[in-house]
Symmetry: C2
Subunit: 569 residues, 2 copies
């Protein structure tokens, strides 16, 4: 290491010829907030100089803007349905060079083995995945997860170079109740970064939660909520994901006085959104809405670098990693070139380097269900009023609706007229045979069934359909594929996407996955579905930690009170 | 620890009655940058709530401003001539509750034993001393220090709770030359905080220095210098010390865009200045010069807390340490009350709690000289032109002047008319018998001699006088006192201050030390001395790492080139 440092010093002093010079571009200095025309010299992966330089390889950056590679402050790789290498390949195209990932989904399926998979599968990529360790596996005892992670399980990974903290502490009721297991995790990570997740938490509850350790939040849905959290010292990650978009709501809270405590996060990006852009799209949208471009770039670079203590990241300055996003202008932030550790990795809209990861097989074959029968999905009508999960457009929160029960032949039966569909959650980790049945409105499905093994956070099999037969057929196909997504209709599989890695991720690239997903969504839309990302929406309906009404393999849950609810009122 | 956390959560939730409430004050929120009237509840040393609270002890803070206790980003306790407990007592009065100390001076005298002394002598105080480990002991091989510290010596202390990084890396030539010993220290502290010290360094040299690790600087003397350093990612500590004041020069560089990368530091505060104020005076002066008060307070609170990763410091927010400075207004920042870890430690201008430290004796008895004779101070004239150290008012930098030699009887002799005095540096660590002789102009001394064992960085005995006899008498008195400061005149000791701890610090409190120092300065002034802090100025004249001409026990040195210089030209 001393030799490396010595050579770096010599390189910056100009004793070595740079490998590469970006010439004539305007460089955004995240420290001063200034933008100025200056050459950027790169040597062995590092930025070694700003000034006049020559090199064998000179890249003309005239009329371009040179920004630090973008940092995604909080994201789940699994939401893209891609393995880390394929995610990296897709994100690099849009200038993201570093992401702080929470392998929460795979951990809920595979526990420690899932974390190990993510660490190993993200090794050696031209992209930096840092990991926050999942704090809430299982997210809840209201459903059945594949694994549980205690503080001592997490401790195994703490010294890994790319493990930097404790991921979103979602179980705020456990924090506020000072549950020993939760406190053990918070204590374990004292002095490291602890991310929060506290939608709607306010007042003394919020203050107590912050005291316990979590120092960020990416669940704010109003400017006032962001202001309160920031005022308590939380860094606010403005989330623009596929399922939840908070930029418009939060931007009024960002001021020159407090912008240093804001970052950007994608949280969950579905493949089709990841394909269209990542952090660069959030920056663009923020600037369109009136945010100063320099502030917006800082929220995607130096702010997260400081927040997470990522030395060498987040700035174009000597000694920093040569992670660079070259954009055409500071309006649309379209990325024309990306450097990662000094290598040109993206050029003319294409990834121009190999992005390979070891083929690891130990995260496959994870669907373990009891024998499923058609009649397992039947429910006898008990009363004539039922609880129905109501979807809210563009939010992952749901409503609890009380509606007249859709009954046919003494049994609960979907009512297509009123858009009340049957929802089922089938346990798939321990062969318990648990199946939760509920009702949902807002999908618009008129025929067939959608099913998926991607179903936060326990990733049991979830299915929404117009009949028990359709639901049964779809669920059986998921089991056969060892995980995936499917649209089935009247006994026939219409469209499918296998997700063999933990039932969550494909080995294929983003184009294949988007293609499959487009077909799946097409199949859903042609059957009346009105939500934009039906499999995304579906995937959150079993999540018992986000308000309000949810369905787990054990039945309906009021996430606000963490109480079981009957289907019948 | 889990129990502590559990109780803290319960306290914030309001289950326990706070110990103390500050009522009716206006609280400065360093996160939002806003100031608002709200009560502050304190429990077991922590802030547990902002809102409406009651407690058995209610302190009326109406019309007051409640700020986080101030953090001094870089300072040397030894410059106050006080041991840590006495420094703390003095600094608390002015609202400073935390200081990041570099025990560089005592380490130059006592090496590892000196660092241990500082750590132990600062334990258990109502004040937080964090330590950066001295990086450059000795500061130079151009003089003789008491000790040398290698990377492996420093490694011994790295896991101490209050050791947080590597202190000012002054030997930038060693960094730029990639000297293995220096690189070993920089590598050892990778991932921790490394403070820089690079006066005037610019361009590629500066960039190479920053790449090597140092990420702050407190030696900027112009706004342009600060801008260049900040633009490279350095945090700039605006220093207002006793010997060097840079606020006026640097304030133009502070903008709303970059102020997060600025902190305040006192570096070296002489006792009489410490008595008048500390960080609060810098804030006041900055606000008088036009800096926004909130920004100024942030530079003394959250900015250093973020920089140094001091969790729980730098903000008034639930879960943070109840380190609070209550000030009358945001103009003069006069401190009316101070809380440290929830205890009222300062009230009505008085420290109201005991401030005790263990009496440690292992840092005494450190003056070890060879036999000194009067004729050791004589210098035969070799040519008729000499190099003279020229003082620059309010700067620790000096000029190199070439002047006609003051000669009497074939020997170099002070010339009171031209204010050219004899300067001597007597080695006092290893009985080498080294004595360096030089000339200095700018003191104005007309009679007698000033001598001191406080003489950066090796703390040999330094003396400035109008005759060899006076110098001899003063040096002998220093030896007799086992360190200290003295004014002698025509064979008589006129005034003295013993500094038995490493020859640098007194066991007495600030009032005694200031009284003694006032007498010493009075004695100096009555003998014609024109510099404001003659013992302070004297103490920097042997420092071979700050430009330009210096005198060590081995002779004159050009600090710019690190070369020995002859007295004669």
């Amino acid at each position: 290491m001393k030799t490396r440092l010595k050579h770096l010093i010599h390189a910056v002093e100009g004793r070595f010829r740079p490998d590469l010079v970006l010439k004539g571009g305007r460089v955004l200095n995240v420290f001063s907030g200034e933008v100025g025309r200056i050459d950027v010299a790169v040597w062995k992966g590092f930025i070694v100089g700003l000034g006049d330089y020559d090199a064998d390889r000179v890249i003309d950056a005239t009329s371009k803007f040179i920004l630090p590679g973008f940092i995604d402050s909080h994201m789940h790789i699994e939401s893209s349905l891609l393995i880390p290498a394929e995610y990296a390949r897709a994100a690099l195209l849009h200038g993201t060079t570093t992401a702080v990932a929470d392998p929460h989904e795979i951990a809920n399926v595979l526990g420690k083995r899932g974390i190990r998979y993510m660490l190993e599968a993200s090794e050696g990529l031209p992209f930096d995945f840092y990991f926050m360790l999942p704090s809430c596996v299982p997210a809840s005892t209201l459903d059945t997860s594949g694994a549980a992670l205690s503080a001592s399980d997490l401790a195994v990974f703490m010294r890994h170079r790319r493990v930097i903290g404790l991921a979103e502490v979602m179980s705020y009721p456990e924090v506020l109740a000072a549950k020993p297991d939760m406190l053990a995790k918070l204590e374990l990570f004292r002095g490291m970064v602890i991310d929060g997740h506290a939608p709607g938490l306010t007042g003394k509850d919020l203050a107590a939660y912050v005291c316990a350790g979590p120092s960020s939040d990416h669940e704010c849905t109003s400017a006032d909520e962001a202001r309160e959290k920031l005022g308590l010292g939380m860094t606010v990650y403005v989330r623009e994901g596929s399922a939840a978009k908070n930029l418009d709501a939060l931007l009024p809270a960002v001021t020159p006085e407090n912008s240093r405590f804001f970052c950007f996060a994608t949280d969950d990006l579905f493949p089709e959104d990841l394909r269209m852009g990542g952090i660069n799209r959030i920056i663009k949208k923020a600037v369109e809405r009136g945010l100063d471009p320099v502030t917006a770039v800082r929220m995607a670079t130096i702010n997260p670098a400081v927040r997470f203590g990522l030395g060498g990241k987040g700035a174009i300055a000597p000694g920093y990693d040569a992670d660079v996003a070259v954009v055409d202008n500071l309006r649309d932030f379209s990325v024309s070139m990306v450097l990662k550790k000094g290598r040109v990795v993206v050029k003319d809209g294409k990834v121009v380097v190999p992005v390979r990861a070891p083929r690891l097989t130990y995260a496959s074959n994870t669907i373990k269900t009891a024998t499923i029968r058609l009649r397992d999905f039947e429910v006898e009508a008990e009363t004539d009023m039922v609880r129905v999960i109501g979807l809210i457009p563009d939010q992952i929160e749901t409503e609890e609706l009380i509606m007249p029960a859709p009954i046919k032949g003494g049994r609960i039966c979907p009512d297509i007229e009123r858009d009340i569909l049957k929802l089922a959650v089938v346990e798939r980790h321990h062969k318990t045979g648990n199946i939760g049945i509920g009702l949902v409105t807002g999908f618009g499905l008129k025929s067939g069934c959608l099913a998926s093994s991607v179903s936060h956070d326990s990733h049991n099999i979830i299915a929404v359909g117009v009949s028990d037969e359709d639901i049964y057929r779809a669920v059986m196909e998921i089991i056969k594929m060892k995980g995936g997504m499917v649209v089935a209709d009247r006994g026939r599989v219409v469209s499918r996407l296998p997700l063999p890695v933990a039932g969550l991720m494909s080995y294929n690239g983003i184009e294949f996955v988007v293609g499959s997903l487009t077909e799946l969504e097409q199949a859903a839309r042609s059957r009346g579905v009105i939500t934009e990302h039906p499999f995304g929406v579906l995937s959150f309906l079993a999540l018992p930690v986000v308000p309000k009404l949810r369905l787990t393999d054990k039945g309906l849950v009021d996430a606000t009170t963490a109480e079981r609810k009957g289907l019948f009122v």
